[in-house]
């Protein structure tokens, strides 16, 4: 697959960066038109580099690069509007979202809709206390973009419409089945919460947040395979004590 030789002022976000050679950075960026791209920022680790401050995760950027291989050379970076201030849970969740994108998308696979979902979730993570619903919507859209979209508004086997007050079990790769029809090992979720996810109106109560999280965690674990997400360790209290839940993702 050939990639364009030169790209100018493409909107993008840095997902991750790490030292490369003596004074350069290897930047993993996410863009609407080119998906995830690997960019070498030459000399960006030097003390006088202007790029370094800009090449931070969660900051809207305009990126220009050249070169057609797997790794292109970053030739320009500009701020695209004011920086985004993520703090607390929002910041840690941002790392989770970035890890999901690095783990589950392939380089040079354009996902404009996913990019918009990413920008939307970052905006949501700035809103303290509303992080979880924003994450659930992003996870739903991520799965959809990857081709593993969840069936949320109909029952899996019968095709009947989901009833808000009924309890369902979500069977992976199939969909929701009424809880009284067995499948007790799968995540339980009420119809109203399935519908809220389907229509992206996540005004969940505490129970709804828990159910939606259980559903998404299970669905995403199936895509991740055996290696758990490292960023989950950042969530105090959740990480170590939840190791059982993470283990159950491995059987997917």
């Amino acid at each position: 697959m050939s990639h364009p030789r030169r790209v100018a002022l493409q909107p993008g976000h840095v997902l991750h960066q790490r030292p490369y050679r003596d004074s350069s950075l290897l930047v993993e960026a996410f863009t609407p038109d080119f998906g995830r791209v690997g960019l070498v920022a030459r000399g960006a680790r030097g003390p006088r580099s202007r790029m370094r401050g800009l090449l931070q995760p969660f900051r809207p950027l305009l990126l220009s690069w050249a070169g057609g291989g797997d790794l292109a050379t970053l030739v320009g970076v500009e701020a695209d509007g004011p920086m985004r201030v993520l703090a607390g849970v929002g910041l840690l969740s941002g790392f989770y979202v970035n890890e999901l994108l690095v783990r589950l998308t392939a380089r040079h696979d354009p996902h404009p809709a996913l990019y918009h979902a990413y920008v939307a979730v970052l905006a949501g993570l700035q809103d303290s206390g509303r992080e979880e619903p924003a994450l659930r919507i992003f996870e739903k859209r991520l799965l959809q973009e990857l081709g593993y979209g969840l069936l949320l508004d109909r029952e899996a086997t019968s095709g009947r419409a989901i009833e808000p007050e009924r309890l369902y079990r979500y069977r992976p790769e199939l969909g929701p089945v009424p809880a009284d029809e067995g499948a007790a090992q799968y995540p339980a979720i009420h119809g109203r919460n399935l519908l809220a996810l389907a229509h992206e109106r996540p005004d969940f109560d505490a129970e709804g947040l828990r159910e939606a999280k259980g559903l998404m965690r299970n669905a995403i674990a199936r895509q991740l395979g055996d290696r758990p997400l490292k960023s989950r360790d950042l969530f105090q209290g959740a990480p170590q004590r939840r190791s059982g839940a993470r283990g159950s993702g491995g059987d997917a």
Binding site: L54, K230, D233
Partner: protein
Amino acid sequence: MPHLPVVQRLIEALRCLPGVGPKSAQRMAYHLLERDRDGARRLARALDEAGERVRRCRLCRSLSEDELCEVCANARRDRSLLCVVETPADTQAIEQATGYRGLYFVLMGRLSPLDGIGPEELGLDRLGARLAEGEVRELILATNFTAEGEATAQYISTVAREHSVRVTRIAQGVPVGGELEYVDQDTLSHAFRGRRDL
């Protein structure tokens, strides 16, 4: 003519240094052998000695010759203040620039989930244990102002709060001699949000 096997081994060994490729390694090796045998012996002894004797300080995890580093062993330092930094070089910078008289905790990195570095890898359980001892009254977070440094500070602050320790973060703003017109917009935006009463 190929290198002698023993010279080849020296060249290979020198390549473990950052930024040293095959060419520079070869130049270094021949310089030491042809022009500076004394220097070569001194280097060998110094490397050997340092490799044997330098270890991690039991308290702050920084490099040390003894079980405790000089700072941690110093009885005159204020043991109720603990400053968290990412690297030993950061400790040096703070020592030289400020009159800080407390102790340090060196993370030897920062939280970076995508590089597989989580709280465990940074020894944060040991930091938690230290805070639980109750000697520390204030924890000063001096991690870098990168997204990862911020996340690290954020994570440690929740640990510290569990132990009811006061947490502070070093300030961020316009550099000395900086003119607002030329300061980058993100720094200025931080400085503006972090303004204080006079």
